[in-house]
Subunit: 341 residues, 2 copies
DNA sequence: TTTAGCACTCAAACGCTAAGAGTGCTAACA
DNA sequence: TGTTAGCACTCTTAGCGTTTGAGTGCTAAA
């Protein structure tokens, strides 16, 4: 798929102009924009060919051209002139993220907020996930009578808790027994390993006392499963209302974003450091007018989670992609400091 | 402010008709709706008087009448014919709320979801708050090196956690010392009491070891403050997009709802079992086209939190108010079961 | 290969008219 | 005195033809 140099220049200009104004761009306007010494008719011919090749589209006969999905793709892959965030912006990001203190959950949430605000789009972020996350602590706190609360703390700083009801009152010795077994069996183990098999072993080593404590074991298992789930935090949804390309379609999109499964599927299905999904590339009908920029962060050498954003396909890729990349680095650095120092 | 019986009937009919259709209602339509044997001209006269008295408004000369804020108020206070949820709906609500298990946080969140879905509006809910909530447990978990994680668990089942960094490595004996002092000083105390004074006492009883542990103490204090804060969970924001009265104004409203302070202020400023704020009654400019229905739930005899909803002033008060009331009772019952059995 | 010129297309804006819903007033009526 | 029929008047909304203007595609000449 080779494009002549002039075609590349023109395609880039169309994409950038359209991103800037949101209006279809015509040959005359382009001629003015480009310093290039070539007539509008020539540009017209080139654009016509680009349209034939599928890089540009026409809303209707007498309108200008608009980049197609393929056009955006080519732009992002080959033409885009990255605009890195400057020193001031970097410092600003760091300050905003750190504002909530060193708590990991907070940091990640803040990163999403910053991204949303930076881009005027919806942003998402997930907690760290994967093999490197292990169980740091399990607690059972009686809260009166037959009820108790189970807590699970992971090495990523995730806390999960659940109320659990038993058929009897928990005695101190039972609790101790449970602690000993659970601690030796679970602590230090990767969260993702806590499955049905491990729980059977656990129940076995609890011996005769296993049966009554089963609800507790089940609760811990649920907590582990919960902690292992990628749950996606969403920020700045209302920003999407500002984009006129979504007029009348916002509701459908927001409904879609508020279901947890599709987003988390999207996130876990991409393993690259940075992914840009344009329009239908995401394979979700509800996102066919949207682009997604998704980046993973690492904590030290360990794999972390992801942050990303969702906006109209007409998005300022050249500015935003570098910012997202910078943010992942920053977030990884701050998380490492918070968790491992 | 006495209204003749006929005026009352007419006002109620106008309100109900407008709530149903969203169109300004005219004298002729009303005549058909009411079985009443009276001509449209008479109705016209009555409506004209109601308009003069401030209960109705006219969008423009040649349109029908629309209830004013005062009109809604009178309707809700005197005319409304409550429609209680039937058995099926009650069972449905109970099933939906309980679906997530017995965890208090979950229950409350679910109650919000149910409310949002039930009303096609945005719903909010808050955790229990007040004097009755005390500290159940404080934990410090070393997570490697000089970093540790502080946990605070309240009697309402709220968990707060934060990462805390020290200037040195925590030894077992220091930890034990800290535990002993903190446990005896804080556990069983109301969350709201943990202020600066108490912390000074605490620091004093830690003796010579106080200074290096100060960050820990501060962290616990922060957690307590955090747990005492009414933080508002919001559900079903996108439902608001379905109401045409918000066309073009949704963004402002959503922005407003996503700031935590105003909502929590709204909630804490009303202490009744049930509050209905219509239009400007809420005193927030951003809510002048909205109504708020806010209800408190109790856990047993103790005061709990609140659930509520935000929607256009044109809302089906007669159906929704009873549902909200039923929901608070239900939620209180389920929470009590989860926390105190 | 490039460019100027020109006819052609189509959406958006504009102005006008007609329709329809609803009011307010007046005068008659019970 | 309260109620009603009748009617003129108001104002919005929808529909329709026209105009405008941006932009294209084609052709012929440089």
């Amino acid at each position: 798929m080779e494009l002549s140099e002039r075609k590349q220049i023109i395609l880039a200009a169309v994409v950038e102009q359209f991103i800037e104004t949101g209006e279809p761009v015509g040959s005359k306007g382009l001629q003015a924009k480009l310093g290039i010494s070539v007539s509008s008719a020539t540009i017209r011919n080139e654009m016509s060919e680009l349209a034939e090749m599928g890089y540009l589209e026409q809303p209707h006969t007498s309108a200008g051209r608009v980049p197609s999905q393929k056009g955006y793709r080519y732009y992002v892959d080959h033409l885009m002139n990255r605009r890195e965030p400057d020193d001031y912006q970097r410092r600003q990001m760091e300050a905003d993220i750190s504002a909530g203190g060193a708590d990991p959950q907070r940091l990640i949430e803040k990163a999403g907020e910053v991204l949303a605000q930076l881009t005027n789009c919806a942003a998402m972020s997930t907690m760290p996930k994967g093999e490197g996350i292990f169980i740091r602590r399990v607690e059972v706190v009686p809260v009166g009578g037959k009820t108790c609360m189970t807590l699970l703390l992971t090495s990523a700083g995730i806390i999960r808790s659940r109320v659990c009801r038993l058929d009897f009152e928990l005695t101190a010795s039972m609790l101790e027994n449970f602690y000993n077994v659970v601690s030796s069996a679970l602590i230090g183990r990767p969260v993702s390993e806590v499955g049905a098999v491990m729980l059977q072993t656990l129940a076995a080593s609890l011996g005769s006392e296993a049966l009554p404590l089963l609800p507790l074991i089940a609760a811990v298992a649920e907590l582990a499963r919960d902690a292992d789930e990628t749950d996606v935090m969403l920020e700045g949804q209302s920003n999407l209302l500002n984009h006129r390309e979504y007029d009348g379609k916002v509701y459908e999109l927001l409904e879609f974003l508020n279901k947890p499964q599709p987003l988390s599927h999207l996130i876990s299905s991409s393993k690259n450091d940075l992914d840009v999904l344009i329009g239908k590339e995401s394979l979700f009908r509800q996102l066919e007018d949207s682009s997604i920029i998704l980046a993973r962060y690492n904590i030290g050498l360990r794999e972390g989670g992801a942050i990303g954003l969702i906006g109209p396909t007409r998005i300022d890729y050249a500015r935003i992609i570098p910012s997202v990349e910078y943010l992942t680095g920053l977030l990884g650095k701050l998380l490492k400091k918070a968790l491992e120092e």
